[in-house]
């Protein structure tokens, strides 16, 4: 099956390149149907995907753009402007029209080549790998082996690699009308990234402060939420892992899990009710005489941070619990016997041991908090904006998918870089995290 993935990736890379071909505006003959097509951004994804099966159902007019379909239409084109392409030769020739940037193609080609090279190297370097592949088939039978491999590779390719590559490619495109896709205007551009940095061209501002501020606020707030989460979960995880056993432990786990059987959005609304002007917290504080009048917890984003902290608490507790649970209790007692205070025991014995779990939990919580949408949407105050909300707006109300993709990609990349830096600082390996 290894041989299969190589060609698949190259095929995919080719597919990514095809749109930039100055194909003589394919949808032209069917122009009457084009306006009737929905003009939102979602429509524009379909054309450039080579194997997207559902596209014909949406709009048959796209099919001509598929590499295989090209030859059949081209004769019917009346006045094809630009360079002529041999209909019999569907091989893509990267000839970017009017100075469009070709480096995305180059990037994808390099990635694909690297992946192919990697597989080739694996195969050539390790004969034993082939042997173990044969053993794998022998052990599991052909049907089950094929099933396992198809779904594993399918998962990796269709759920992980393709969407990310697709988003990456999309972020370098102009936001075009459906009929312009594949046309002369469909070239690569950096404008989506430029917009995040510098705002509208000729907008007068030096930098796009509005969006950059939201971006940094999102990152910093996510860090704070992660830290709060850790401070809350560490004692709890330690208690469950080292102090209680049996029934009490099971009961605690149940208490932790139960609230998460409720939908995330409903939980966010529950927080909204709790922190509302006439909600539980205000009623309680006024009842105690601490407050004279209701405090606007929602406006002050207290509800937002509480909701965000709570939303991913399990993803912090479980890695911590697993890590701390594997610590030999004698080590704690030995340290205590040696005269260590509780603080010293945690700093010198428990935390170093649990470091991979801490890193794993913090990474998950940070990533998911930075990418959260439901909680900020429901619990955010009027003045607050989460970066994901801007992305959402680009995609949804803004109808500018390439712009949204660029924003999303920046967020993803920044988060990964940030996490890697943190891991370097705390000397944690990627393998340690994956183990938890």
């Amino acid at each position: 099956m290894n041989e299969l993935t190589g060609p698949e990736i190259t095929m995919m890379a080719q597919a990514q390149i095809t749109p930039s071909l100055p194909t003589p505006s394919a949808p032209a003959p069917e122009t009457p149907t084009a306006p009737s097509a929905p003009s939102n951004g979602s429509f524009s994804i379909t054309p450039s995907l080579p194997g997207s099966a559902p596209t014909p159902q949406i709009n048959p007019s796209i099919t001509p753009q598929l590499p295989g379909g090209a030859p059949s239409i081209s004769p019917s084109l009346p006045g094809s402007t630009g360079t002529t392409v041999q209909p019999s030769n569907p091989a893509p020739e990267p000839t970017p029209a009017d100075g469009g940037i070709g480096f995305a193609e180059v990037f994808i080609a390099i990635v694909a080549a690297l992946l192919v090279a990697l597989f080739m190297q694996r195969k050539a370097g390790k004969l034993s790998a082939n042997l173990s592949a044969m053993q794998f088939v022998q052990r599991n039978g052909l049907a089950i082996s094929a099933y396992l491999l198809t779904f594993t590779i399918g998962w990796i390719v269709f759920m992980i690699i393709l969407p990310q590559l697709y988003m990456f490619d999309f972020s370098f495109r102009h936001n075009l009308l459906p009929m312009e896709i594949g046309g002369p205007k469909d070239v690569y551009t950096l404008k989506n990234y430029k917009y995040l940095m510098f705002g509208r061209e000729g907008g007068g501002e030096m930098l796009n402060w509005l969006h950059l501020a939201v971006f940094f606020k999102t990152i910093i707030a996510s860090v704070i939420v992660t830290i709060i989460n850790f401070l809350l979960c560490y004692p709890l995880a330690f208690f469950m892992a080292q102090m209680v056993k049996g029934r009490g432990q099971r009961l605690l786990f149940l208490c932790l899990l139960l609230p998460f059987w409720v939908n995330e959005i409903l939980r966010a609304f529950a927080f909204k009710l709790i922190f509302a002007e006439l909600g539980l917290v205000n009623a309680f504080l006024i009842g105690l005489g601490i407050l004279d009048q209701p405090y606007d917890f929602l406006g002050a984003n207290v509800a937002l941070y509480t909701g965000l902290t709570y939303a991913y608490i399990l993803l912090m507790i479980f890695p911590l619990y697993n890590a701390i649970e594997s610590l030999d209790h004698n080590q704690i007692e030995a340290a205590r016997d040696m005269g260590a205070s509780w603080l010293k025991i945690h700093l010198r014995i428990v935390m170093p041991h649990a470091k991979p779990g801490i890193a794993s939990g913090c990474t998950m919580v940070f990533m998911l908090t930075a990418g959260a949408l439901a909680a900020p949407n429901i619990l955010g105050g009027p003045s607050s904006l989460w970066f994901t909300q801007i992305i959402y707006q680009w995609y949804n109300t803004g109808g500018n998918w390439p712009q949204g993709s660029a924003y999303a990609f920046v967020l993803l990349l920044s988060c990964i870089i940030f996490v890697r830096i943190m891991m370097r600082v705390f000397k944690v390996g990627l393998g340690d995290i994956a183990k938890r």
């Binding site: 030999d328 004698n330 030995a334 040696m338 260590a340 205070s341 014995i349």
Partner: protein, 364 residues
Amino acid sequence: MSSVELDHITIRFGDFVAVDNCDLTINSGEFFSFLGPSGCGKTTILRAVSGFSEPTEGSVRIGGRDMRGIGPNKRPTALIFQNLALFPLMSVADNIAFGLEVSGVNFKERRRRADELLELIALPRQGDKMVSELSGGQRQRVAIARALAVEPEVLLLDEPLSALDLKLRQHMRSELRAIQQRVGITFIYITHDQGEALTMSDRIAVMSDGIVQQVGNGADIYNNPSTSFVASFVGENNAFQGKVIRSEDGYAVIETSFGPLRGINKRGLSEGDDAYLFIRPEALRPFEGADASDDTSFQSEILKEEFEGSFLHVFLRSDNELKPVKMALINDASIARHAIGQNFGMKFDPNFAVALPVGELADE
């Protein structure tokens, strides 16, 4: 250096009595062992001394100071765990100096102390290694050094040799003893291995089911056991059950399934009492003219033999057909192996046979 007094200690876990009214004093500078099978409560006593648990009744005094309410980090004791519990993420030197580190001793001084202790445990210049790079015996010594670094008045050892193989264990015994004599502090040693207890200890407390059966030095416990448990647990021993038929001149004669047999009567057994007679294998020798009516010899048919290196086990026919009497004999040249079904006679010196009241025997 401090003595440890266990003043009528009882430790209960719910209804279970782990330690029952243990009252003894461990002298300053003594190597004292608690010997007993697993589950006899010896580790529970150790935890009460170290401060990880408190006695339900009674009190622990170290150097005359009542330890009630004083945590393990504040007691002048150091504990060596069964699995050693070295810190795997720290270097050997950091392990040894951990106790100093948490009490705020500066780095240079810590390093100096660690080097000193590495010298003491014969591992010089190994301080920068990780614990995982050391062998079992070396780890053992690092654990001892780590415990000694905090300069405890009492060192507590919870079966620290049990994870080692036989040869290393025997070597570590003498090493432990030597270290104890060099540092001169009180050692309290927990073990189920009588060999360890007998070779290293000044005094031994033999425990069973939470009760201290006997306290004494090795020879005392071996030669003059005061209960049937001690007699059967410490060393090989042969038990003959029966009723006392005569008690005279410090001896008791017991009617067993091999006829009357005589032994020393230190527990004041009188006629009609149920009793055991214990005869050590080394006190038994083969005897052709054995006579059932003689109370220092006996004979019976051999049903089975098992060879076990230094010992030869023979199973003799007794009154109870289903339950032959198992006997351990020294496997020396004088005892040739006997054929199954042969008649087998033995003689013994009654001064090396001990008559004791019937009680619990150690499990085989």
